[in-house]
Point group: C2
Chain length 162, copies 2
């Protein structure tokens, strides 16, 4: 990677760092009250046997600067896996250096190398700086689709039906 930074695959000793970054991202998105994960949850799911979720760390000058956390999704129309970027975050003091772009380039390289059809992620509609950045990279907003979510009591209620 160019600049004074690099990206690398996360390792088990990054557990507390990843958990801290998740909370910093949630605070930025004004969603910190929705975080009830623990550092143990992150360790189990990212570094247990046969993980289904993965993480890359960006470092600048040897210091942790940001992260990308992702999993494989699937397109039945393409008959190929894709990569879904669940979290992308660069700490405020490291922004403007291209670190977010480097994390995305890194994921795009992986997608192409693994014959994935696409990289996707979701953006809050008020986050205009991020939307402009993503569009500048060639990403297209899937404006005609809405995500529906069933969780908590509604999920338990549906699961309890015959």
């Amino acid at each position: 990677m160019s600049g004074g930074f690099s990206t690398r695959t996360a390792k088990p000793s990054d557990r507390d760092l990843i958990f801290a970054l998740i909370r910093e991202l949630a605070a930025y998105e004004r969603l910190l009250d929705e975080v009830d994960a623990t550092a143990n949850d992150i360790e189990r799911d990212l570094f247990g046997p046969s993980p289904r979720v993965f993480c890359d760390i960006a470092e600048a000058g040897g210091k942790p600067a940001g992260f990308a956390l992702w999993f494989y999704n699937y397109s039945t129309f393409r008959g190929r896996h894709g990569i879904y970027l669940e979290d992308l975050f660069v700490r405020p003091e490291f922004r403007g250096q291209g670190i977010g772009k480097a994390l995305l380039v890194n994921l795009a390289k992986r997608a192409v190398a693994e014959n994935c059809s696409r990289v996707e992620w979701s953006v809050l509609d008020w986050n205009e700086p991020s939307i402009a950045f993503y569009k500048s990279l060639g990403a297209k907003p899937m404006d005609e689709w809405t995500i529906f979510r069933l969780s908590d009591a509604a999920l338990r209620n549906l699961a309890a039906r015959e």
Copy 2:
């Protein structure tokens, strides 16, 4: 399951059925020209070693009536996996019997049994019958989020950057 139908986990011999259902769904969504998957792709990804994508089949009177195709996603805020329903489809001649709901109930039961935090899926904004159905089950539209997609030439271009 109630009614004259049942759901079951797909097996390798369902390969051609699943492929046919994917094409029927694409035609319904007016997206058939976006399908370039083959039946071999579906077989490899659903029934190869360590699959990352899964399928349930609904049958009515012994005939294949519909399917749900899904994978595991992840919430860093919850520190738990979720289920993402990529495709849900009931053949027109089998609609109105509760088969779509049965496929969703089946997934909700799995989510609860596996301590998943949620079940999510995406809906085309013009598909008002589906939207009304999903809301009746307690699902919430995530209106404030937009999915961004990087694919094809834009993906390759980004992957080619330093």
